[in-house]
Symmetry: none
Subunit: 154 residues, 4 copies
DNA sequence: GTGGTCTAGACCACC
DNA sequence: GTGGTCTAGACCACG
C-alpha cells in the first residue's frame, strides 16, 4: 500500500490520509485484521505531524473502519454486514451523507446540461473500473505485516 | 425561488448559497437570462455578510453559471452545451472534479461492503427523483423580474 | 455560568468542560441561541490550552448540543425534539450509550448487595434534586451576552 | 461463567474484565467463596497480557469484591452488607462514585430534552431485567471448582 | 475575531 | 512500544 500526501492540496492532510486508507480497504489491499503502521512511524514516513495522522485514524475508527487500542496499534475492523450490535446508527449517518453528496453532484450535472443517461453512463464506467478488477496480487493467507509504503509529494 | 441558509450546517454559507442557485438552475426555476437579486439585497434578506454572497456569486461566475457586469447585476448564463467558445477548460475541470467526487463516493461505498448494483440502484433512484418531474409551473416566456425569495433558518 | 477545572482530576479536562456545559444546558443556565465564549478566551480564562477547549466544543457539536461556525462562535443548538432531519442516528447512539452505562451501574449496585428498590430510591432522589427546582434567576427575554465566568482549581 | 473480551471496544481490557466479574457476582454466577482462575491461566485463555488481568483483579480486590492471597489465588469475598469492619470508607467511596455517575447521566438525559419520568421508566425497565430473573441454574451448596470459561472476540 | 488545521514536543495510560 | 491527552505557537478559511 502506497500513501501519498500532497501538501499543496486544499483538502486537509488528515482527509487525504483517510480517503486513501478507505481506498485501500475498498481495493482489498487492506483486509480485516491487517495492522496499520503506528501513528508515529507513519507520521515520520509521510513527513507530517503525529497529530495529523492521529486525527485521520480517529475518524476512521469513528466510522467503523479501524479498531484502535492504546497498547496495540490500529487494525482494520471486521466488516459489519448486518445490524444488531449498536453501530447501525453510524451506518445510517454515512448512508445519509452519501445520498446527500450524490444528490448534489447530480444536480450540478443537470445544471450543466447533462442528462440522466449521461450521468448513469459515467457511474457505470466508474463502477466498472472500481468493481471490475479485484486485486489479485494479494496472498489470501497472510494476515499481518502488510507493507505500507509512503511517498511525499510537493 | 426560495433560498434557505442553515446556520447550523457545517458547510460554509457561501457554498450553501452556491449549491442552491445551481439546484434552481437544474430544476428550471432559473433559466438563462433570469436576473438574480443584487449582492446587497440578498445579503440583507439572508442576514449574512455581503462578502459571503459576493463569494458565492463569484464562484458561480467562474464556473460559467452566471454572467456578472458591474452595475447590471448577475444574470443566469446561456447553457454552453458543447465546446467551442473558449470555456471548454472550465467544463473539463468541472467534469474532472465530478468524476473525482464520484470515484471517492463509490470507493467509500465499496469499503463499507456495498455492491456495484446497490450503488447503481441508489443512483437510479436519485436520478428519477431529480430528472423525473420537471417544474411545470414556470412561464417559459418570462425573462426578468423573477421571484427570488429568501428565508433564514435557525 | 461558572466553569471550574480540576487539573489533578483523572477525568480529562476536555471532558470536564463538556460535562459542565451539558449541566448548564440541563439547568437552563444556557438556552438555545446563547453564545458561548470563544475557544481562545475560554482557554485563557481557564488557564488551559486552546486545543483542549476546542476538543470539548467539537464533541458537544458532534452530539448536537452546539452549533459552530468559523466566523461566528459557538451557539447552543435548538433542541431536536423529534426526528426527521438526519440527526436521529446521533440520538440513537447517545440513548444506547446511556442505557449501557445505566446497566453497568445497576449491576455494580447489585453486586454490592443493593436492592432494586434502594437503587430506585437513589434515582428518585437525584431526579428530584435535578428536575425539582428549575433555575428561576433567568431573564427569559435575553438571548445573548450570557455571563460565563470561570475558576481555576488546583 | 464466560468472560468475553471485545478488542474493538474502546473501554480498556482490564476494565472489561473487571465489569464482567462484577456482573457475574451480581447475577449469582459467582458467590462468596468461589475461586477465580489464576492470573496466568486467564491471561492465556483470553489472549491478553498478564499485567492486564492482574490489574483487573487488583481493582476488584481494592473494591472489596475479591480476597487475594499469594499462592492461593483470588476468591470472591463475603458480601459486606452493612458497615462495621473497617471497609466502610470503601463503600462510601463507591456509593459516592455511583451517585456522581448517576447525576451526570441524568443531567445529560435532561439536556437532551428527556423528562424525569422517562428516565425513571428506563431505570425501572433495566432493574426489572437485572433483578427480575435470578440465575436458577446454580447449585447453591457448591463452593469451589467453579466453571469459569473464556472466549476471545474479534 | 472566529473556529479549523498543522507543527513540535511533552507526559501518561495501556499493553 | 502503542495511542490519548495536553501545551505552545503558527497560519488559514470564514464571516
Amino acid at each position: 500500500m502506497i500513501i501519498e500526501i500532497d501538501q499543496s492540496d486544499d483538502v486537509p492532510i488528515y482527509e487525504q490520509l483517510r480517503r486513501q486508507v478507505i481506498e485501500a480497504i475498498a481495493n482489498g489491499e487492506l483486509v480485516p485484521g491487517d495492522k496499520l503502521p503506528s501513528v508515529r512511524s507513519l507520521a515520520v514516513d509521510l513527513g507530517v505531524n503525529l497529530h495529523t495522522v492521529n486525527k485521520a485514524y480517529a475518524l476512521l475508527r469513528d466510522d467503523g473502519y479501524l479498531n484502535m487500542r492504546r497498547g496495540s496499534g490500529a487494525v482494520v475492523a471486521e466488516r459489519r454486514d448486518e445490524a444488531g450490535h449498536g453501530s447501525a446508527a453510524v451506518d445510517g449517518a454515512q448512508w445519509s451523507a452519501m445520498n446527500n453528496e450524490l444528490r448534489r453532484i447530480i444536480l450540478e450535472h443537470k445544471a450543466r446540461g447533462g442528462t440522466a443517461e449521461s450521468f448513469l453512463d459515467t457511474v457505470r464506467h466508474q463502477c466498472a473500473s472500481i468493481y471490475g478488477l479485484q486485486n489479485p496480487s494479494r496472498d489470501e493467507g497472510r494476515r499481518s505485516g502488510n507493507d505500507v509504503s509512503s511517498r511525499r509529494s510537493s
